[in-house]
C-alpha cells in the first residue's frame, strides 16, 4: 500500500463549500425554509445540491436575497431583512408556516460582514418563527463545516428549549418546542445517524434507509436521522440515543463538543460502511454485539442472503458477469470512508483489484480511519492510495496503473473518458444527472444486487468492442 499525499499549494478536488453542507443538512428538515444570503452563483450551487434531498424526501425552498454588486459595497442587511420578512409573512398568510428558517451566507456576504444575527433576531421577534443565521462561506471550509454549523445549532436549540416559554406570534407556537416534553421511547440501545449526506455514496438516501433497516433488524433502534426527512420537534429526543454514529467519520467538531456536554457519545469504533457482503457482516455484527441482538442480526443477514441467492444462484448471467469482472483492475475516487469500504468490497466480494484509491477527506479522522480500513487488504493486493489528490494526479495514476475502469462521481467521468477509461458513477451525490430512479440500496446484503447491476454496465462499456463492431458492420465491406 503506497500512500501519497500532495504537498502542493493548489487544490483541485471535490470539495463543495460550507454553504452547500449547511443547505444539504437544513433541507433535510421538514417544513424548513432557507434564505440564501449570497451571490447567485453560490445560490444556484446550493439549490442544485438541495436536490439530493428531494427523491423520497421533501422540497425545501431556498430563497435568495439577490445580493448584487452595490450590496457588496454598501451592505445587504436591508435586503436580508426584506427577504426574511416577505418570505415568512407570505408563508404565514398562506398558512404554510415554516418551523424553522435558516439564513445561510456565502463568501461575498460574509466578507462584507452583514449583520445576519441581528437580522435573524429582529425578524424572529416580529414573526415568532425561529430564525437561525449561520456564517457559511466557502473560504471557511467545506461540507463538514456547513454540516457542523447546522447540526450544532439544532443541538443548541435542543439544550435551550426549556428556557423558552412561549412564542411571540400568537398563531405560532413553535411546535417543536411544545411537543418536546415527553420522551418518545425508552430504548437505551438506540443510535442517532449523523450527517447521512456526507456518506459519499450517490445513492446515500437509499443506502441510509438500508442501514436503518439492518440496524432495526438487529434490534438496534435508530432514534434520529440527522437530517433526512427530519421532524424538528424530534430534536428533543436527541439525547435518548446512547450513541451518535457519524456515518462519514468526518469530525464534526462543534457538534461533537455539544454531544459531549450532553453526555451523548460518538461511536468511536472504526467500522467500514456496509458495502458488499463482507463489510456488511462485519458492520452489523459489531453493532449488534455492542447495542443489539447478535442473533437477530444473523437472522436478518440470513434472510437477506436467501433473497440474494434466490436471484443469483444458477443464474447464467450472474455467473458470466462475476467471472468477467474477476481479476479486473480499477480506480476509485470517493469520500474517504466510502472509498475505502468500496475498495474492500470490490476486492473481497468481486475479486476486482483497486489499483488506485483516491480518498477525499476534510478532517484527519476520516482520512485516518479510511487508511486503517485499507490496511486489511494491503497484503492481498498492491495499490496506491492518494490522499486528497488533484484530478490531474488521479488521472495520471489511473493511466499508469492501466486500470480497466474507474469508479467515482459524475464530475470525474469526463476525466476518465478523456483517458479512455470506462467510468462508473457510484460516489459523490445524487445531484447532477445520476440516473437511478429506483429506490434500492447499494449498501447491505441486498445492495450487492444493485452493485452487480451497476458494475455490469461498466463491464459492458469496458469490454464490448463497439467501435470494431461498427467498423465491421455488414455493409462496410461493400
Amino acid at each position: 500500500m503506497n500512500i501519497i499525499k500532495s504537498d502542493r499549494q493548489y487544490k483541485d478536488l471535490m470539495k463543495p463549500g460550507s454553504f452547500v453542507g449547511s443547505t444539504l443538512t437544513a433541507s433535510g428538515i421538514k417544513n424548513a425554509l432557507i434564505i440564501f444570503h449570497g451571490i447567485l452563483g453560490c445560490n444556484i450551487e446550493a439549490t442544485h445540491f438541495r436536490s439530493d434531498q428531494i427523491p423520497g424526501g421533501g422540497y425545501i425552498p431556498v430563497i435568495s436575497t439577490g445580493l448584487n454588486e452595490a450590496d457588496c459595497i454598501q451592505g445587504g442587511t436591508e435586503k436580508l431583512l426584506l427577504t426574511l420578512r416577505t418570505s415568512i409573512n407570505q408563508a404565514i398568510a398562506g398558512n404554510k408556516i415554516p418551523e424553522i428558517v435558516f439564513v445561510l451566507t456565502s463568501d461575498a456576504a460574509s466578507i462584507v460582514g452583514d449583520d445576519i444575527k441581528t437580522a435573524a433576531r429582529i425578524v424572529e421577534e416580529e414573526t415568532g418563527v425561529k430564525v437561525i443565521a449561520l456564517d457559511t462561506p466557502g473560504f471557511a471550509g467545506g461540507l463538514v463545516h456547513g454540516t457542523d454549523a447546522v447540526l450544532s445549532e439544532l443541538l443548541r436549540l435542543q439544550t435551550c428549549h426549556c428556557e423558552r416559554s412561549e412564542a411571540i406570534h400568537p398563531t405560532i407556537t413553535n411546535k417543536w418546542i411544545a411537543s418536546s416534553q415527553a420522551p418518545r421511547n425508552d430504548n437505551k440501545n438506540s443510535i442517532n445517524l449523523i450527517a447521512p449526506h456526507l456518506l459519499g455514496s450517490k445513492n446515500w438516501t437509499n443506502d441510509t434507509d438500508e442501514m436503518i433497516r439492518l440496524l432495526q433488524g438487529a434490534d438496534i433502534q435508530v432514534n434520529l436521522n440527522l437530517c433526512r426527512n427530519f421532524n424538528l420537534k424530534d430534536i428533543s429526543q436527541f439525547a435518548e440515543a446512547k450513541f451518535n454514529y457519524v456515518l462519514s467519520s468526518e469530525e464534526l467538531r462543534n457538534f461533537e463538543k455539544i454531544c459531549s456536554d450532553l453526555g451523548s457519545e460518538i461511536v468511536s469504533e472504526n467500522l467500514p460502511l456496509p458495502i458488499g457482503v463482507a463489510n456488511t457482516e462485519e458492520w452489523l455484527l459489531k453493532f449488534a454485539q455492542k447495542l443489539g441482538s447478535v442473533e437477530k442480526a444473523k437472522e436478518i443477514l440470513v434472510n437477506d442472503q436467501k433473497f440474494v441467492q434466490k436471484q443469483l444462484r444458477f443464474n447464467y448471467n450472474f455467473s458470466w458477469m462475476s467471472t468477467l469482472m474477476y481479476g479486473k483492475r480499477c480506480g476509485i475516487l470517493a469520500h474517504a470512508k466510502f472509498g475505502a469500504s468500496l475498495a474492500r468490497c470490490l476486492l473481497w466480494d468481486f475479486g476486482i483489484v483497486p489499483k488506485v484509491i483516491g480518498l477525499i477527506a476534510e478532517t484527519d479522522r476520516a482520512e485516518k480511519e479510511a487508511l486503517e480500513l485499507l490496511k486489511e487488504i494491503k497484503n492481498q493486493a498492491e495499490f496506491t492510495v492518494l490522499i486528497n489528490p488533484s484530478y490531474f494526479d488521479y488521472g495520471n495514476h489511473l493511466k499508469q496503473a492501466e486500470v480497466d475502469f474507474a469508479i467515482g462521481s459524475i464530475q470525474d467521468k469526463p476525466l476518465c473518458i478523456g483517458h479512455k477509461i470506462p467510468h462508473l458513477s457510484l460516489a459523490g451525490f445524487n445531484f447532477f444527472n445520476q440516473y437511478n430512479f429506483i429506490p434500492f440500496p447499494s449498501f447491505g446484503i441486498r445492495g450487492v444486487l444493485g452493485l452487480m447491476s451497476e458494475l455490469s454496465v461498466v463491464m459492458e462499456e469496458a469490454f464490448y468492442l463497439k467501435n470494431m463492431i461498427s467498423l465491421n458492420n455488414y455493409e462496410s465491406l461493400k
Binding site: L40, C42, N68, A70, G138
Partner: protein, 518 residues
C-alpha cells in the same frame, strides 16, 4: 386576437408589449436602487465566474487557475464536467485553486497565487494558463495582475487573466460581454490576412476545431455537416462551416475553441461572422477595434429567410454571389415541400416561446426562433424573460431591431426563478387549445396531465442541450436546422392531435390517471 391581459396576470402587473418597449421601460443594469425596488430578489442566475470558466473550458491544453476557495472551482466543475463536457464533448478542464481560507481573506492571497501558478506551470505543463478571480479575492482586493507578473517571470507558460468575481456584472448578458472581449487580449496582430477565410464567433459550450467539414453525409446521418468527433449530432458551427465551405470560403477559426495558438492567430481571417450574438458581437467589435477585422451583422440564422440573409451578407462581402445563390437555391428547393407542409399546419397559430423557464435569461435563441416561426405564418409571443436580463443583452437587442424584428413579449415584475403560469399566459391571449404551439428552452417544461401536456398542447423542445436531432445543429441554425425544426413541429402536432394519452412527465405533475380527471 384580443390581447387584454388576464385578470391574474394584470393584477400582477404583466402586459404584452414590443421587445423595444420592454427595453425602454427597464432601468439600466447599473441602476441598483431602482432594480432592487422594482425586482426584489433578483440577482442573476449564474455568476460571472461560472460563465468565464465555462467559456475557457472550450479551449484546449489549458489550465484555469481559480484564485479563491476550492468551492468556487467546484461550483464551476458541476457545469463543466456534466452538461458542458458530457453533452458537448469538451475535455475535462483542470482548474486548480489557490484554496484560500479565512486567513488569506484577512492577510491576502497573492503569495498563494504566485506559488500556485509556478506549481501549475511545472506540474501540468499546459499551453496556456488563465487566472480567474472570485468574490473573496476581489473583495479583499488582491493585486492579481502583479502576482501574475511576478509568477510569469518564472513560468514558461503564458498566463492571462479574466476578471470574474461573482458579485460583479450580475446580469448574464453583461457578464458575457465583459468575458468574451478578453479573448481578444489573447490574440496577436496579424502579419497578413488570409484571403477568403472566415472566423465564426459566438460559439459557446460547443468546442470545435478547424478540421474541414465534409459536405456529404453518410447514410446513418453522421458526417454531413458534422464537425470532427461530433458524430450524428452536429453543432451550429458545423452547419455554418458547411455553408461557408459551400461558398468556396474557408473557416479559419471558430471561437471560442482550440488551443492558445489557434486563438492567437484568429485575426488573420478576412472577416468575422457571428453565430450567437451575445458571445459573438462584443468580441467581433473588439477585434474590429484592435485588429481592424471586419464583421458581418447577421447572427444566429434560424429559418430559411434568416439563413439566406446570413449567406448573402457573407457573399456580398466576399464577392461569392453566384456560389451563394446556387447554394441557397439548391438547399431551399430541398426544403420547400416540408416548409409548405409545416406552414399549412401552423399558419395563424400563436407560438408561445418560453425564454428559459426558471432561468429567465434566454433571448437571442428565442428571438431567432420567433423570427423563423413568423416565416411560417405563426404569431410569436415571448415570455419568461426577466426584464433586467433583456436590458443586459444590448448587442442582441440591437441586432434584432436592426433586422426589423420586434415581436410581442410579456413584461412584468417576474419573481425570481419562478416561471409564470403558462395557462395564464394562454388566457391572457384569449387562446383556445389548437390555436397555439408551446416552444420550450430548458428543463422543467410546463406539463400537467389533464390540463396542459404534450398530449393536448403541442410542445417543441428547442433547448440546445436537450434537443438532439440527428444531422441537425443544436440551436437549429442553417438549412439543416430549419429542416429539423419543421420536422419537430409536424411531429408534435401529430402527437398532440392523434395521441390522447398523457405523458408520464405530465402525469407526475398533474392528474396521474384518467379516472381522476374532471
Amino acid at each position: 386576437m384580443n390581447q387584454c391581459t388576464s385578470k391574474k396576470l394584470l393584477k400582477a402587473g404583466y402586459k404584452w408589449i414590443k421587445v423595444s418597449e420592454m427595453v425602454d421601460e427597464t432601468p439600466p443594469v447599473t441602476a441598483s436602487c431602482e432594480i432592487n425596488k422594482r425586482f426584489p430578489g433578483y440577482g442573476g442566475l449564474w455568476c460571472k465566474l461560472i460563465m468565464a470558466v465555462t467559456s475557457y473550458a472550450m479551449t484546449k491544453n489549458s489550465v484555469a487557475v481559480i484564485h479563491g476557495p476550492n468551492n468556487c472551482a467546484w461550483a464551476v466543475r458541476n457545469f463543466c464536467s456534466t452538461n458542458y463536457s458530457l453533452y458537448y464533448g469538451n475535455s475535462f478542464l483542470h482548474m486548480p485553486t489557490t484554496d484560500i481560507d479565512q486567513n488569506s481573506v484577512i492577510y491576502g492571497g497573492g503569495e498563494a497565487l504566485i506559488k500556485t501558478l509556478k506549481e501549475v506551470d511545472k506540474d501540468y505543463k499546459p499551453e496556456h494558463i488563465c487566472v480567474f478571480d472570485t468574490c473573496s479575492t476581489a473583495l479583499i482586493a488582491d493585486d492579481i495582475q502583479t502576482a501574475i507578473n511576478i509568477a510569469q517571470s518564472k513560468c514558461i507558460t503564458k498566463i492571462d487573466y479574466i476578471p470574474s468575481a461573482g458579485f460583479t456584472s450580475i446580469p448574464l448578458g453583461k457578464s458575457i460581454e465583459e468575458i468574451t472581449v478578453k479573448y481578444a487580449d489573447m490574440m496577436d496582430s496579424p502579419s497578413e490576412i488570409s484571403e477568403n477565410t472566415v472566423n465564426i464567433l459566438g460559439q459557446y459550450k460547443e468546442q470545435q476545431d478547424s478540421s474541414p467539414v465534409k459536405c456529404q453525409g453518410k447514410r446513418d446521418g453522421s458526417g454531413g455537416g458534422c464537425g470532427k468527433g461530433r458524430g450524428k449530432y452536429p453543432d451550429d458551427a458545423s452547419e455554418l462551416t458547411r455553408i461557408i465551405e459551400a461558398l468556396g470560403l474557408k473557416v479559419h477559426r471558430i471561437l471560442i475553441s482550440g488551443n492558445s495558438d489557434y486563438i492567437k492567430s484568429a485575426p488573420q481571417a478576412a472577416v468575422n461572422v457571428i453565430s450567437c450574438p451575445t458571445w459573438g458581437i462584443p468580441l467581433a467589435k473588439m477585434m474590429k477595434e484592435k485588429f481592424n477585422t471586419p464583421y458581418l451583422k447577421h447572427c444566429i440564422p434560424i429559418g430559411i429567410e434568416a439563413t439566406s440573409k446570413w449567406i448573402r451578407e457573407l457573399a456580398d462581402f466576399t464577392g461569392k454571389h453566384q456560389e451563394a445563390e446556387d447554394f441557397i437555391k439548391q438547399e431551399v428547393s430541398e426544403l420547400q415541400e416540408i416548409f409548405e407542409k409545416t406552414k399549412n399546419l401552423v399558419k395563424g397559430k400563436a407560438a408561445l416561446i418560453e425564454c428559459g423557464r426558471n432561468s429567465q435569461t434566454a433571448f437571442a435563441r428565442p428571438m431567432a426562433l420567433a423570427r423563423a416561426l413568423r416565416e411560417l405564418g405563426m404569431m410569436p409571443y415571448l415570455f419568461g424573460l426577466h426584464p433586467v436580463e433583456l436590458k443586459a443583452k444590448e448587442s442582441d437587442v440591437g441586432y434584432f431591431l436592426w433586422d426589423g424584428f420586434n415581436p410581442q413579449i410579456l413584461t412584468g415584475n417576474y419573481p425570481y426563478q419562478q416561471p409564470v403560469d403558462i395557462t395564464e399566459v394562454v388566457k391572457s391571449l384569449d387562446l383556445e387549445e389548437g390555436q397555439y404551439v408551446y416552444f420550450t428552452q430548458d428543463v422543467f417544461p410546463m406539463a400537467k396531465a389533464g390540463v396542459f401536456d404534450a398530449e393536448n398542447i403541442p410542445r417543441v423542445e428547442t433547448g440546445v442541450h436537450l434537443r438532439r436531432v440527428i444531422n441537425a445543429p443544436g440551436r437549429g441554425v442553417g438549412f439543416r436546422g430549419a429542416k429539423a425544426l419543421y420536422q419537430n413541429i409536424i411531429e408534435v402536432l401529430k402527437f398532440s392531435s392523434g395521441n390522447k394519452k398523457a405523458t408520464l412527465y405530465g402525469r407526475v405533475h398533474g392528474e396521474f390517471y384518467e379516472f381522476g380527471r374532471k
